[in-house]
Symmetry: C2
Subunit: 371 residues, 2 copies
């Protein structure tokens, strides 16, 4: 079976590495010839995203999936009319639009920030009046790694916020949630409706980019894990989702709040390659290929640490016990995700020691210094 | 860094899958265009093994290794004069010749079967007189999966044994060792002389082919594990070996006896992809690339079950909890290794149950029925 993947970044690369053992083969819709997935399959796609390149891609594989959600819904609809695409158009349409996401959370009674749609500056002024300050303004589509966001802390900033983000309108204004920490839960649903959930990850960001995740998130009660599993399972079934889905959450003093979803494998789940019985990548491939799901239990406490902008010394990292290095084959550039490091240990305490050792080796320590 | 691998079978394929996360790239010296490694790198080599194909292969990579030991020592010497090759010529020359192996065991005081070199039928008659019956006759080079062997149980079989094996002479006659079970230990040595040993595997064969391995081998005392580690570490240092090395052992009532070595990753170590902190494939890549070694501890009891001759139903296998399927992209043929299944569990008892479930799904149950 050949899998066609939209996008040829590191997520596609890790999907392919997980899929080869099932004899899956891959093609990628990606214009960049030097992309991380290039050595693992055939590349299609050109800079203009021509119809011909899309048709050639469709002809190249049996089943399709995507590694990023910022692809036109129309394309996925076009493919879906001819061949199976997982996750479905519905999952994509919801996840790539923050207003659709919020409506989904409301519909399923999943707590989330109060919000207001913003089509012009007057809407923004009204949002401040209704939701109070501080207020988080986001583009409804296309934002990632903290881009396309503005926090209004003072009513005088309304004009500036509108000016900076209006190109991305419609916008969404969200009431600020005072949270203890950010968590994420990753789950997978098969073509037969079977679901499996990974343990909650505790995510720490730095300048809008994920710095590191610790899994299972420490000090999570069974009730909190169960609550998160209930939310994501509701979403999976509501969307008739097939494949991996991620739900980012805020943990507050009054419980969990949904932040956003991603209809795909997620940076906060990279620990699962070594830390779980079956990784998010293998499980996504199982779901897309119509196979039964793998066990999502953690083997031991794990951390995922992103390598951003500059590569560390490979030998120094691998000299630390129970570290695994995943490089994506990218050149260095400020703010770019070049790879990640997984660290495992038999106890959280040992894990902390190893995280500190890794931090000492990283040129860009992100949020690890405060750890 | 680009790694050139002699051979493009499943071992090369799994080395490449383990090496991609370090940004390693691969070329393979392999004439079969549809070999298991083909999708993961560039193929060199032709049916005639021409000098030109060898030179092109040498030009294609920075460091070299091999996935099978039946390659001419002269080739490895030829490469070694130009670029690094790990393991070294010395490791290859010893492992590919049973007489050299036996001499190594003697030199290091590692118990092994008494043996006699056989160049003609008269030598064979003398071997029977000196070593007694039954007597195991093997070609000194090139045998695998029980091929190139003859067991003389009665002195009248001498002529038949010589007739069947003389094409492979010189032969080696080995005193029969009455063993309880077959074990193997896999270890790895880095370019700086660091070593790591995996836990002993308990191997069960069927018609000369490895059926399955259970790791850690149950009922192994710490003394037996330590003894095996001492033997293989002696061998690693004596050969100045870099990379993974395997030592097959017989467990007898009077302790461990060395059977043979393989200067490479081994079928009885495939469990380590999911069952160990760092797999034999990743560790081999680390050693060959000049990196520090990974931790070889097991995460939980594991079994490796070979898929021989016929493929099982993929979905049926993956529906069993904690199973992982590794297919090699080969067509079906009697006696051919098509893939393997790793099963893990938190206890040996749960592992036995899962092994029985896997056996029920396999067209060729090998030795699993007697399990």
């Amino acid at each position: 079976m050949k899998i066609g993947i939209f996008g040829g970044g590191q997520l596609g690369r890790m999907m392919a590495l997980a899929g080869y053992p099932f004899n899956l083969r891959f093609s990628f819709y990606e214009a960049a010839q030097d992309c991380p997935s290039a050595p693992l399959g055939q590349l299609y796609g050109d800079k203009d995203a021509s119809q011909a390149s899309l048709d050639a891609f469709i002809a190249s594989a049996d089943v399709f999936t995507y590694e990023f959600e910022n692809i036109p819904v129309a394309w996925v609809e076009y493919i879906a009319a001819k061949k199976p695409v997982y996750p479905s158009v519905k999952s994509l349409a919801v996840s790539q639009n923050r207003i659709n996401e919020k409506k989904l959370f409301q519909c399923l009674n999943i707590p989330a920030a109060a919000y207001h749609e913003v089509h012009n500056q007057a809407d923004l002024t009204q949002a401040v009046a209704v939701l109070g300050l501080p207020l988080v303004i986001k583009t409804t589509m296309g934002g990632y790694d903290g881009k396309g966001q503005f926090v209004i802390r003072d009513a005088t900033q309304v004009a500036q916020a509108w000016s900076e983000l209006q190109a991305g309108a419609p916008l969404i204004a969200e009431a600020f949630i005072s949270f203890e920490r950010e968590l994420s839960i990753i789950a997978v649903r098969s073509q037969t409706g079977e679901t499996q959930c990974y343990p909650l990850a505790w995510n720490t960001h730095y300048q809008g980019i994920l710095s590191h995740s610790i899994v299972p998130a420490p000090q999570v009660s069974p009730q909190i894990q169960a609550q998160a599993e209930q939310y994501i399972t509701q979403i999976l079934h509501e969307l008739n989702h097939v494949g991996v889905l991620t739900l980012e959450l805020f943990q507050t003093l009054s419980g969990l709040y949904a932040n956003e979803t991603a209809p795909r494998v997620h940076n906060s789940g990279h620990w699962s390659i070594e830390g779980a019985v079956c990784s998010q990548f293998e499980n996504h491939m199982r779901a897309v290929a119509g196979l039964p799901l793998g066990v999502t239990d953690e083997l031991r406490p794990s951390a995922m640490i992103n390598i951003i902008g500059q590569h560390p010394n490979t030998a120094a990292i691998l000299a630390i016990p129970e570290t695994h290095l995943h490089l994506y084959g990218k050149t260095e550039r400020a703010g770019r995700k070049l790879g990640h490091i997984t660290v495992t240990a038999s106890t959280y305490q040992a894990l902390q020691t190893r995280i500190a050792q890794v931090a000492a080796c990283l040129p860009n320590k992100m949020a690890l210094l405060n750890h």
